[in-house]
């Protein structure tokens, strides 16, 4: 897809995270949402009832649409979570209630 990082400062550090079991590069200070969008991933999950795709909407933690599983913890807001080295991020899937 279409999101793209703007140039980072020269020599700025990177870290690696895993997104759906694939290694991805990120920068400290970025949120999980930023990393996903930069990877071209706009859909973060599907809803329980209508299985509709959802991704980022409000970007400030009030809408609870951008939910992903982080380090095994489900339903975490991607836009409010800064990445750390070694973070596992999993997208997709409704809860199975």
């Amino acid at each position: 897809m279409t999101s793209s990082r703007l140039p980072r400062p020269a020599g700025s550090p990177t870290l690696t995270v895993s997104v759906d079991s694939e290694i991805a590069e990120a920068h400290p200070g970025e949120t999980v949402a930023t990393v996903l969008l930069a990877l071209g991933r706009q859909t973060f999950r599907h809803t329980d009832h209508l299985h509709a795709p959802r991704g980022l909407f409000c970007g400030m933690g009030v809408c609870f649409d951008c939910l992903v599983t982080i380090d095994g913890q489900p339903n975490v807001r991607a836009c409010m979570t800064p990445v750390h080295a070694g973070m596992t991020i999993e997208t997709g899937g409704p809860s199975d209630a």
């Binding site: 793209s4 990082r5 703007l6 140039p7 980072r8 400290p28 930023t34 969008l37 509709a52 795709p53």
Partner: protein, 466 residues
Amino acid sequence: MPDVIANHLQVELAIVGAGPAGLAAAAEASDLGVPVTLIDLFPRPGGQYFKPTPAELDGESGAHLSPLLDRLSQADMRVISDTAVWGIFPEGEGYLLCLYGPVGTPRRLLARKVILAPGAHDRPVPFPGWTLPGVITAGAALTLVKHQRLLPGRRFLLSGTGPLQLVLARHLLDAGGEVAAVLDANPFPWRGWRHARAAWGQWERLGEGWAAWRSLRKADALLRWGHVVRRAEGEGQVEQAIIGPVDGGTDEAVAVDRIAVDTICLGHGLAPSVQLARQAGCEHRYDPDQRAYLPVRDESLQSTLPGLFVVGDGAGIGGKDVAQWEGRLAALAAAAQLTRSVAADRIAAVRRELARQRRFAAVLIDLFPASAHLGDLLTDDTVLCRCEEITVGEIRRVVAEGAETLNAVRMVTRAGMGRCQGRMCGGPVSELLARELGQPVEALGQVTPRPPVVPVPLEGLLEEEA
């Protein structure tokens, strides 16, 4: 309730929210010798208006966003970040605040005086297809491009109202994005000339707007007044937008355009975050100009609860300068209640400046009101409650079956009962109900937010950490 208050942190003044209003209140209180405890939801203070860009993404040593941020390192300031206030309860002559934050954060706080500065969020305005990935708020777009240094798409449509759209458009263009169109739901602000007096002195703002408009003309962006996005379409994400006049009928009846875009930014203004003040028990009244319930305040910005003040966008949208001066005024009043000596001419000076800033803010509300006509766009299959996936059609059905208030609709359909706790759908459901029942929004009743006013993990409700 002795068990509740034993061993709790006790403070004279608690300020909730570290945006411009909260920061200014903190500075003013501190100037008067009142120690301040400032509690903020985000990892770093600044709120939305003074949001810091992470240094690793910026290359600068931390842009100087506001001198108010520097005050926070003073000895009499305690800043509790990354922490939610999920409930406020009257306790004796003050208030018990229930907090949830990272390990080591106090869970309870007793404050003699409280200043709430919770800010606002983008006003959600539903339309068919608004839940598709690729539809984001203008606030989200601005946060991504400015603070995450990410261009959140390639080809953008901006739909909403007001000069902030131009600011966003400028940022997107500067970042290398393509802005296909900027639509303002309101007519061209011909009436602007009447506000020349209020606008006098606001050169920087006017200059920004002008520069943004010129960039857009240069970039061949479509600029339309009285227009909105009517529908977003695409396979699993935004691929195109149908745009047209605001108060139009069907696509066939009015002239619509179909434009290919991958990102739609909705900028229909802001909605005050009133949940905490309402849960605490402050009386609110519907403001038809802002199309929102706002706290009832006296001239010192005290709510209907004694010793509890509400300031900034959380009390009514006014922007960052109104927010700061409100913060200062409330701090002066709180300090006086705490029997600090407050100079009358300082109060007068703050009131004067606040009035001046309010005059300009009022101009924007007058010229760019939240549009009343967007309900025309809703189809029965438009999802209104995003969390619970309740459609316009389901709400209409329940209304036809007898539900007559916002609360009744919520209880039967579950609209507003999801994680966002009604923040996204509360306004749209009220407006839909108002149209269906032919009644003003204020006749439909309020829904009182219950604690916790933000989602809190079960064990986070406990008074002690495990």
